[in-house]
């Protein structure tokens, strides 16, 4: 049963993939998305059922027996390096499996509606299924190499899905950017893995946990290992300095953004840190780096999100920011809180992304929130579910986002690894989050439409201009016939809305089921700083609610009236410019890395390659040509010359022998 969890989506991939390949071979007739999507959804749904049953089995068993293990085959065997392909299902894996397959199923269902007009839905669903299979391998892998297989696999699928509409050069290059930036991180991961192997001689998590406790290892090596692995995490989970790929990854179809770039793949960094928490716990320096990077990323991305006008870009930066929160939690030793935020974030961010997808779908590929407004009446169901997601991420109690975020803030403040500074950054980020999400919500759903609403009888246009994310249509001329999305898209949103609202229940402070559940697999929760009082927790909770409300209120004051917003923007023109240009990070990287690399490559090409390597190779060729021409003159076809040469050779041998004899 355990093997079935990743195997089922893989089967779905094979079915849809071969269907697509066969279809291409026979001329590529369009197939209905319901068929391809149905297969894909069925496999991932069945996988969810498997995961759920195993999870219930785990729930019912003793705490010590809560690990299921299956070795599928012997993968690598080279001397001391023995890597069986082991899948391990324990408390941590089970939660991730449930989120991946559960949210994944909902997103698959949503995609059936969203990709309804796509030319090759089999390809899309094949990639989506393959992604799920690799993601499940990632969280189920019993050793680092198996995890790494999933890690690279999801990277591949991410690339394939970001540049799904590869005919658009921008989208294709966004895929490349994601892949290349991730490679930088993966290098860190690999080096970390090598260092673990040379230090401990094993890569299996269970064995490592024992070894780390028994083997004395210098703190420097442990810190190096943790930091190298964390480099991998910054790539996959979009942290400073490698976060630049995630906003660009929004070029992919919106369900992809929801599944890969919000709910699952980008959280694998947090999974890795939690899985190896027993190592990170031994290296306070590494933890400090993790916490600092996390907090910095959270704040940094939140500031950028304020000034973005693309609905998906706002959500992308919001994701980066929330991932920063999760690393902040891990960095202060509160791994359970980090995992808790992974789960709640998966719910509400998938909800927000798919809500945005629904809006984009309804608005006929319009993504600019400045051209939206007043969708409350036109898309009432999407409005409702989006509102839940908005309040959840903004941190309004009792929605799930509040509970998990508040716990992170409390731990950032109170943990022995935490500090007031980390809390201030976190709280500031919370305020900004509430502010930019409210801005997004107000500009999209409230107010009056800032586009020309087409007359309701203009139905012909609706079925006409549906080229998903392909272009912005001709809405400006004819008006937009906004329509509510079909039930197949709204229903998953409703489920996620309910989950976003109530998921906080599993991690209520002081009676957290989640913390208790994860206790055996994670490093122990850190001690609190001695000067922190328990009453402070309630004060801070009140403060964080207050912050959220202030953020929302501020957004309403500014963006409730667009004239105020304009005035506000002109007042802070220079700041707005910097923020809307994302602090010029891309330009900075371009100047610092891309341009010098390009220049270096040009030098190497024009000078080293052409003038040195090519010249060596060409002159070798010339030399053999010329010596050939020289030797060729000997072989002129005259038999008598040959005979003469033989004689000369014979005589010289004889002469040499005689010379030897007489001397």
């Amino acid at each position: 049963m355990l093997a079935l969890i990743p195997l089922l989506p893989l089967i779905g991939f094979l079915i849809n993939g071969s269907w697509y390949a066969l279809g291409q071979a026979r001329g590529g007739k369009a197939v209905p998305a319901t068929a391809a999507g149905g297969i894909a959804t069925a496999t991932i749904g069945a996988s969810f059922v498997c995961a759920l049953m195993l999870f219930l089995q785990l729930l019912g068993s003793e705490e010590e027996a809560r690990t299921l293990e299956v070795t599928l085959f012997h993968w690598i065997s080279a001397g001391a390096l023995q890597i069986p392909f082991t899948l391990r299902f324990d408390q941590l894996s089970s939660l991730f499996c449930l989120v991946i397959t559960g949210v994944g199923s909902l997103i698959h269902i949503f995609s059936i509606g969203y990709m309804g007009h796509d030319e090759s839905p089999q390809k899309f669903f094949a990639y989506l299924n393959l992604f799920c299979a690799f993601m499940l391998v990632l969280v189920l892998g019993g050793s680092l190499p198996v995890l790494f297989l999933g890690w690279e696999g999801v990277g591949l699928c991410s690339y394939l899905l970001i540049s799904y509409w590869y005919t658009d050069p921008d989208k294709a290059s966004a895929g490349k950017k994601a892949f290349i930036v991730n490679r930088i991180g993966d290098l860190g991961f690999l080096l970390g893995m090598f260092l673990i192997f040379t230090t401990f001689g094993s890569l299996d998590f269970t064995a490592l946990k024992q070894l780390v406790l028994t083997m004395p290892v210098s703190g420097g090596i442990m810190t190096t290992i943790c930091l190298l692995l964390f480099v991998g995490c910054t790539g996959k989970s979009a942290q400073i300095p490698l976060f630049v790929w995630l906003p660009d990854a929004m070029a992919g179809p919106t369900p992809v953004s929801a599944l890969i770039h919000a709910a699952t793949m980008v959280t694998s960094g947090i999974y890795l840190v939690s899985r190896l928490s027993f190592m990170f716990a031994l290296s306070p320096d590494a933890l400090c780096v993790v916490a600092t990077i996390g907090a910095a990323t959270a704040l940094f991305a939140a500031t950028i999100a304020i000034a973005q006008n693309d609905i998906k870009k706002v959500l992308a930066y919001s994701t980066v920011s929330q991932l920063g929160y999760m690393f902040l939690a891990c960095g202060v030793g509160a791994y359970a809180s980090g995992v808790f935020h992974v789960i709640t974030h998966a719910f509400f961010k998938a909800l927000l992304f798919m809500g945005a997808g629904s809006v984009i779908h309804g608005m006929h590929e319009e993504q600019d929130i400045q051209k939206m407004g007043g969708l409350r009446r036109l898309m009432p169901q999407t409005f409702l579910v989006f509102a839940v997601g908005w309040l959840a991420i903004a941190g309004i109690p009792p929605l799930s986002g509040f509970v998990s975020k508040d716990e992170i803030l409390w731990m950032a403040f109170a943990s022995e690894h935490g500090s007031v500074a980390l809390w201030v950054v976190g709280a500031l980020t919370a305020a900004l989050t509430a502010f930019y999400m409210s801005r997004l919500f107000i500009l999209t759903f409230l107010g009056t439409p800032r586009f020309k609403v087409a007359e309701p009888q203009d139905k012909g246009h609706h079925d006409h201009g549906h080229g998903h994310d392909h272009g912005h249509g001709d809405a400006a001329h004819h008006g937009v016939a906004v329509h509510e999305s079909p039930a197949v898209m709204v229903l998953p949103l409703a489920v996620l809305a309910v989950l976003s609202a109530v998921a906080g229940a599993i991690g209520i402070p002081h009676m957290s089921w989640l913390e208790h559940w994860l206790h055996p697999v994670l490093a122990h929760a850190p001690a609190l700083r001695p000067e922190v009082h328990h009453e402070t927790e309630w004060v801070l909770m009140g403060v964080s609610v207050g912050i959220a409300i202030v953020g929302i209120a501020l957004a309403f004051v500014i963006y409730g009236n667009l004239k105020t917003a304009e005035r506000f923007k002109t007042q802070w023109a220079s700041l707005a410019k910097i923020l809307s240009n994302k602090w010029y990070v891309d330009e900075f990287y371009d100047a610092l890395i891309v341009k010098p690399l390009n220049a270096l490559a040009t030098i190497l090409w024009k000078f080293f390659d052409v003038k040195v390597i090519d010249r060596i190779v060409l002159s070798l060729g010339d030399a053999s040509n010329q010596s050939g021409a020289l030797a060729r003159s000997l072989q002129n076809g005259s038999t008598q010359l040959y005979a003469f040469l033989m004689l000369a050779g014979f005589l010289s041998i004889v002469g040499y022998s005689l010379y030897g004899i007489f001397h």
């Binding site: 060729r632 072989q635 002129n636 076809g637 005259s638 038999t639 008598q640 005979a643 003469f644 004689l647």
Partner: protein, 102 residues
């Protein structure tokens, strides 16, 4: 009868051999080349016979018989080749027949 001294005979043989060799290398008519080869073979035969007589040992004379047989065969094959060559090339001049090249 005073026997001719061995060194004289050997010098004579060497002279004939090198005359033959020069003929093989220099002459342009294939027939003459083949004749020169015969000359070289017979120079060797004469050498063998000389040693055989001087050392009073029959092996040299035996070898000579073999060489005579082989030389006859060689002449037959060689002349056959020359005729075949002449039929295709219409010449027996080695300067005109330069086919052994890549």
């Amino acid at each position: 009868m005073i026997p001719v001294p061995v060194p004289v005979i050997l010098s004579f043989c060497a002279a004939i051999f090198f005359i033959g060799l020069a003929g093989v290398l220099i002459r342009r008519n294939i027939l003459v080349v083949i004749m020169s080869i015969e000359l070289m073979l017979n120079a060797v035969n004469l050498t063998l016979v000389t040693f055989s007589a001087a050392l009073d040992h029959p092996h040299g004379q035996m070898a000579v018989f073999f060489i005579i047989v082989v030389a006859a065969v060689e002449s037959a094959v060689g002349l056959g080749l020359v005729i075949a060559l002449f039929r295709t090339m219409r010449t027996v001049d080695t300067d005109q027949i330069q086919l052994l090249k890549g």
